[in-house]
């Protein structure tokens, strides 16, 4: 859960926050592509490090550390499955190579989480919705997206309240065998579903009352315009891809174990 906690957007102003979400998304994709290209530790470490200035510029270091900490659990799983895999299906490689390989796979995951958290920590869901709209995604989907984001905390709180209300009536969730435990959740699920339905009806009513669907040519309060920063990031991202491809193709990358001895 805490990995997602780290991805929660908070409104602050920074040069990174004001970047166009489409450009930032392009950057995430580029990072993703670059990370997938490599299985060696050194370039992956480089990919990890070059993102840190962005995080500092965006003033989200603390939340970022939080999300990275949240990711450690998954990272550990990736590391050990890789290790186990090489153990059960030996390819004749040395142990140090196996460890290095597992580390690289884990790093790859870490780099992905890092770039995604840069994106989500600095992009307001509102802007994201707008970016979707400008990318010709039908408005209904964009609206569904932003509304979902908006109601996640509300529903989480509601679930907690329902749980409390049933506990106050003597419900013990952890009691009984597996089947009983599953059954224990019925008194929580039913009110949750009923309330969600009721809530969505009210929402629909409010939307209709505010002229939902009046015209096909919907306008928007916000406008996405590319600024200088956006061009800079785009240029840097393109450069990164070119460099990544070049290194991949023409420069042999030594393994750490080789360097060390």
């Amino acid at each position: 859960m805490s990995m997602f906690e780290g991805l929660k957007f908070r409104k602050i102003s920074s040069p990174i926050h004001s970047l166009d979400p489409r450009v930032k998304f392009f950057y995430v994709i580029a990072m993703f592509a670059a990370a997938v290209m490599y299985m060696e530790i050194i370039p992956l470490i480089a990919l990890f490090l070059i993102q840190i200035p962005l995080i500092i510029a965006a003033k989200v270091t603390r939340q970022w550390i939080k999300s990275m900490r949240g990711a450690t659990y998954l990272a550990a799983i990736i590391f050990f499955t890789n290790l186990l895999f090489s153990y059960f299906y030996p390819t004749g490689e040395s142990f140090s190579y196996i460890v290095e390989h597992a580390t690289a796979m884990t790093l790859r995951f870490v780099v992905l989480v890092e770039s995604f958290s840069v994106f989500f920590l600095t992009t307001s869901p509102d802007h994201l919705g707008l970016a979707l709209e400008n990318s010709h995604v039908p408005y209904e989907f964009c609206f569904a997206f932003t509304t979902a984001v908006r109601f996640v905390p509300v529903l989480a709180e509601e679930a907690q309240t329902i749980m409390d209300a049933q506990k106050a009536r003597g419900l013990e969730l952890e009691k009984g065998n597996f089947l009983k435990r599953v059954k224990n959740y019925i008194p929580i699920l039913i009110p949750l579903i009923v309330n969600a339905i009721r809530r969505s009806l009210e929402l629909a009513e409010a939307m209709e009352s505010r002229a939902w669907g009046a015209t096909k040519n919907r306008t928007n309060l916000y406008e996405l315009k590319l600024h200088r920063g956006d061009y800079v990031l785009t240029a840097l991202t393109v450069l990164l891809i070119v460099l990544a491809v070049y290194v991949r193709l023409y420069i042999p990358i030594p393994a750490v174990s080789e360097i060390l001895g």
């Binding site: 009210e202 409010a206 505010r210 002229a211 009046a214 919907r218 309060l221």
Partner: protein
């Protein structure tokens, strides 16, 4: 001066219901029965009655949620701003009638206040510059301009409800209908909302229909009270007359304590003249009478 606006505009009814009967789909009995009423431009109408009396159903008829959204069976006719509700889409009516609901949480969808206020105008396809102008105006009128970039779900209930009001205000409707807008708010928050609504009525001449149980907090703002029971309008008139009528006491309506005190004194032969509608008013009368 304000009185004059009332008089000149009073000729034209903004809401006109004629023999309106409506049954929800699947329901056996109609929720409102043979409702006829005229609401003039600029009025401040307080609509009240016990739970389940049909107040909310009637509100839904004002902007076409009934019959368009709820379907069901509608008989009789209702005209709002000259349009037959049954023949016009909800979004057309939305330009004339704004609805504010009870639960602020379920009527705000956007992730920033100003985006929420803009929602209706965006749907209508109003040009961006115009949206910006109207959104800023609505935010200023409701005194939440400073909150414009905040996400609505982080605000207090009172602030959220103000966002909801600004959101309908931005569409510049002639009528704003509010269905128990303060039931989730604390007393001070509620009081501020009522004062805001009153200001919209006085300063901008917007017709207000307010559904509310707590007459003690609201009677002084209204120029008219409509009381419903079992789907029918049973009383309709000036607050000072309605609240002291005998019928109202039999209806299970919460009579303001000010009125109850006034009537207690009257029964003991102590007449304070015209019935008061607020604690300040009765205190003033008593001070005139008893002060040295």
């Amino acid at each position: 001066m304000e009185k004059q606006i009332f008089k000149t505009d009073r000729k034209m009814p903004i809401i006109e219901a004629d023999n309106l009967t409506y049954t929800y789909p699947g329901a056996e009995k109609p929720s409102i029965r043979e409702v006829s009423l005229k609401i003039e431009k600029g009025e401040f109408v307080l609509l009240t009655g016990p739970s389940g009396c049909g107040k909310t159903t009637l509100c839904r008829c004002f902007n076409g949620l009934i019959p368009h959204f709820y379907e069901g069976k509608l008989r009789g006719e209702i005209r709002v701003a000259g349009m037959n509700v049954a023949e016009h889409a909800i979004y057309e009516l939305a330009k004339h009638v704004g609805l504010v609901f009870q639960n602020p949480e379920n009527q705000l969808f956007a992730l920033s206040v100003e985006k929420d206020v803009a929602f209706g105008l965006e749907n209508l396809g109003v040009p961006r510059e115009e949206i910006r102008k109207r959104v800023d105006w609505a935010l200023k009128v409701t005194d939440i301009y400073e909150l414009r970039e905040r996400p609505p779900y982080e605000l207090s209930g009172g602030q959220q409800q103000r966002v909801a009001i600004a959101a309908v205000l931005a569409m510049q409707p002639e009528v704003i209908v509010l269905d128990e807008p303060t039931s989730f708010l604390d007393p001070l928050g509620a009081k501020k909302i009522f004062e805001d609504i009153y200001r919209l009525n006085r300063k901008l001449g917007i017709t207000i229909v307010l559904v509310e149980h707590r007459l003690d907090l609201t009677a002084k703002y209204a120029n008219r009270i409509i009381i419903m029971d079992e789907g029918k309008i049973v009383l309709d008139g000036e607050p000072r007359k309605i609240l002291v009528s005998e019928e109202v006491h039999l209806m299970g309506i919460g009579i303001p304590k000010v009125i109850r005190l006034y009537q207690f004194l009257k029964q003991r032969g102590k007449d304070l003249g015209e019935p008061p509608l607020s604690s300040e008013e009765i205190a003033k009368k008593l001070r005139e009478r008893l002060g040295r």
